[in-house]
Symmetry: C2
Subunit: 396 residues, 2 copies
């Protein structure tokens, strides 16, 4: 058989590659300043501390063996302690589940929580990795917009009042990817209230919460209701190659995810999970390390936002970049960012057009800029190049 | 909301925990000789070589970053070279895909290749991890039996002649789990022929092929046809916590799996994949290491099979254990192994009753014994205990 059977070829047509991963290819050219990626800076990853932890982990041969599907016990204990402090209640071990990055939590949760055709409410613009998972699960997707205080919970309330009954509402609560904003404390409370009143799950997807620059993010949405499933990850504060994400969820949800994880990949790596546990448990070291990352990212964000305002003035509105990894820019002068992108690449700078994050249509005048992997001076140069590309765009 | 929404509770009823993983709990008691597990021996895992490779991997910070969904390039290159040698043709990089253990390959392949209700043919008794995946995918499952030469390909031919049209046929071709047998060369050729004639995929699941004791396993089924998707893993020859499995499949299948892996967990760990690449590329070291594992497992297998024959005589028929990790035992005297198990545990020995691997019903007089993690003397003592438990069983 040299051709594929029909089901496979149909399936390939139906699947869409992650726009972000495809766009990462743009950042590979050395003459281009890449603001398109969404990677943390590997120069800031604690290589020496990881090497030390690896050596110590390998002193015990059981770190080479298969481990529990729910995650290596000592990592779950460290996470339970951290999340207890964060959530202001004692989080039992049974409510902590380790996943292969928080992407795996999203994927397994979609299988556990959603029947085909179930309604999922997402934010617009959306984290495309979540969108891909919910689409693959056959969910019906409805989006609510974001503003400077995060998800427009009033728009969600309107949908509920109109009779919509979501199974899941997904939110990136802190330093939103791509929109840069953080859900306000008042809206967190209101979102949790709506979840309890209408019986839906909130998936609070929080990979960026620790990367605040001036002041910590508000208390998690999960503080306010057991209907909130909280996801986080070590990828942005330690290193993505540890592939350590985690979920805090009611026991029954964790047990459902556990059964699915057995079929999906049996278990994670006891070796990388031990390394993660070691680093997360080393509180004084960790606090110094995360402070350093915050300081560097904060400086870069400030340089980028400053240059944008200086160079573009009121032709753009950009987020303040109070944390996380991204600045979101809206052009006010009718610039089409998808049309701008090839010119920008010619001028040596890459970004992701807003339309790549749109749930249906929109954000054609917006773009996402990632500030994590460039020095301040490079970011200022990137804005120069962007301005020259935009000027040429306007002239042509 | 204190209760779960109905879809979740229904789903939890519908899912079955992996029988093997639940049974692993039996092996934890220190007074019990555990032949129930399916774990490689961690004492034989190359800890020092892994530590060296980890140190070397961490010299490059990019090992801490996200990596390609298809796997870290240099690991795919090493695998392509190894599989080229194994398959007797040049395997291009595009046909090599790294997964989180071969369990993840099974799970993603089921999504790519199967529509709900598609027919999957499995072996009976079956690898339960595969059965779980195919059941979760909503496949219709039909089983063909095994004999001492592996899958009864004549029984498969009968099904095809009767009009059955499988999308996938799954086989553990070498040192079958749980049945211990190896598919003969003649049947490999015939299976590949049937796949081409009837247009189905064969998934050749081969985690144990390198663990031969007296002579290498026959050439892979994949040697005979591009309709064969070949899976293997570093878990049984190096260490499970590297979580490195791989797939050799046509480009279009790999691309389908790649799109799904992005949604499932984005990518694997560049760190553990670099360690795996390092060890697999170090051919002279690897050959010595695998020889040592073969020698130890072979000695243990021989001790177990010898003791069984000596102690039970013609009350049992057991496999020869020519490789892999398991001996399969059929009682010829009507012993019910599920009834025997609690008595065996009382006598300090655990095994998995054959019925745990039955696709529907059957194998009530069989059991699977794992010989990897016990010394020869311990295995002989385990057979003593088993014999005492069986004697008591017969008396009562």
């Amino acid at each position: 058989m040299s051709t594929l059977t029909p089901p496979l070829s149909q399936r390939l047509d139906g699947l869409r590659s992650s726009a972000i991963r495809d766009l990462l290819k743009l950042t590979a050219r050395p003459d281009i300043i890449g603001l398109a990626g969404g990677l943390p800076d590997e120069e800031l990853m604690p290589r020496d501390r990881i090497a030390l932890a690896a050596e110590s982990a390998l002193a015990d041969r059981s770190r080479l063996q298969y481990t529990e599907s729910a995650g290596w016990g000592p990592l779950r204990e460290v996470l339970a302690a951290r999340e207890s402090a964060r959530l202001g209640r004692t989080v039992p071990l049974a409510e902590v589940f380790v996943t292969h990055g928080s992407q795996q939590a999203l994927s397994l949760l979609a299988e556990v929580l959603l029947d085909p055709g179930a309604l999922v409410i997402v934010e617009d613009p959306a984290y495309v990795g979540a969108l891909q998972v919910f689409r693959a699960a056959g969910a019906r997707i409805v989006a609510v917009p974001l503003d400077t205080e995060g998800m427009r919970v009033d728009a969600l309330a309107d949908l509920l009042a109109a009779g919509e009954r979501p199974a899941v509402v997904h939110t990136v609560s802190n330093f939103h990817n791509p929109r840069g904003v953080t859900l306000s404390a008042a809206r967190r409370r209101e979102l949790a209230n709506l979840a309890e009143r209408h019986g839906f799950w909130v998936i609070e997807d929080d990979p960026y919460g620790e990367l605040w620059f001036d002041r910590p993010a508000p208390a998690p949405v999960a503080t306010y209701s057991p209907n909130v499933i909280r996801l986080s990850s070590a990828s942005k504060i330690l290193a993505p190659s540890l592939r350590a994400g985690w979920m805090v969820a009611p026991d029954a949800v964790c047990r459902g995810v556990e059964l699915l994880k057995q079929g999906a990949d049996l278990c994670g790596s006891a070796l990388t999970q031990q390394i993660t546990a070691d680093l997360l448990a080393d509180e004084s070291w960790l606090s110094g390390h995360v402070d350093k990352v915050r300081g560097m990212y904060g400086e870069r964000a400030q340089a980028l936002v400053g240059a944008l305002r200086e160079r573009f003035g009121d032709r753009v509105v950009s987020t303040d970049a109070a944390g996380g990894m991204f600045v979101w820019v809206d052009f006010t002068d009718g610039t089409d960012t998808a049309a701008l992108l090839p010119r920008a690449v010619d001028h040596g700078v890459a970004f992701v057009p807003g339309s790549a994050f749109a749930v249906s249509d929109g954000y054609r005048g917006s773009m996402r800029l990632c500030f994590t992997t460039s020095e301040a001076a490079t970011l200022r140069e990137a804005v120069e190049r962007l301005a020259r590309a935009a000027a040429q765009s306007t002239q042509s």
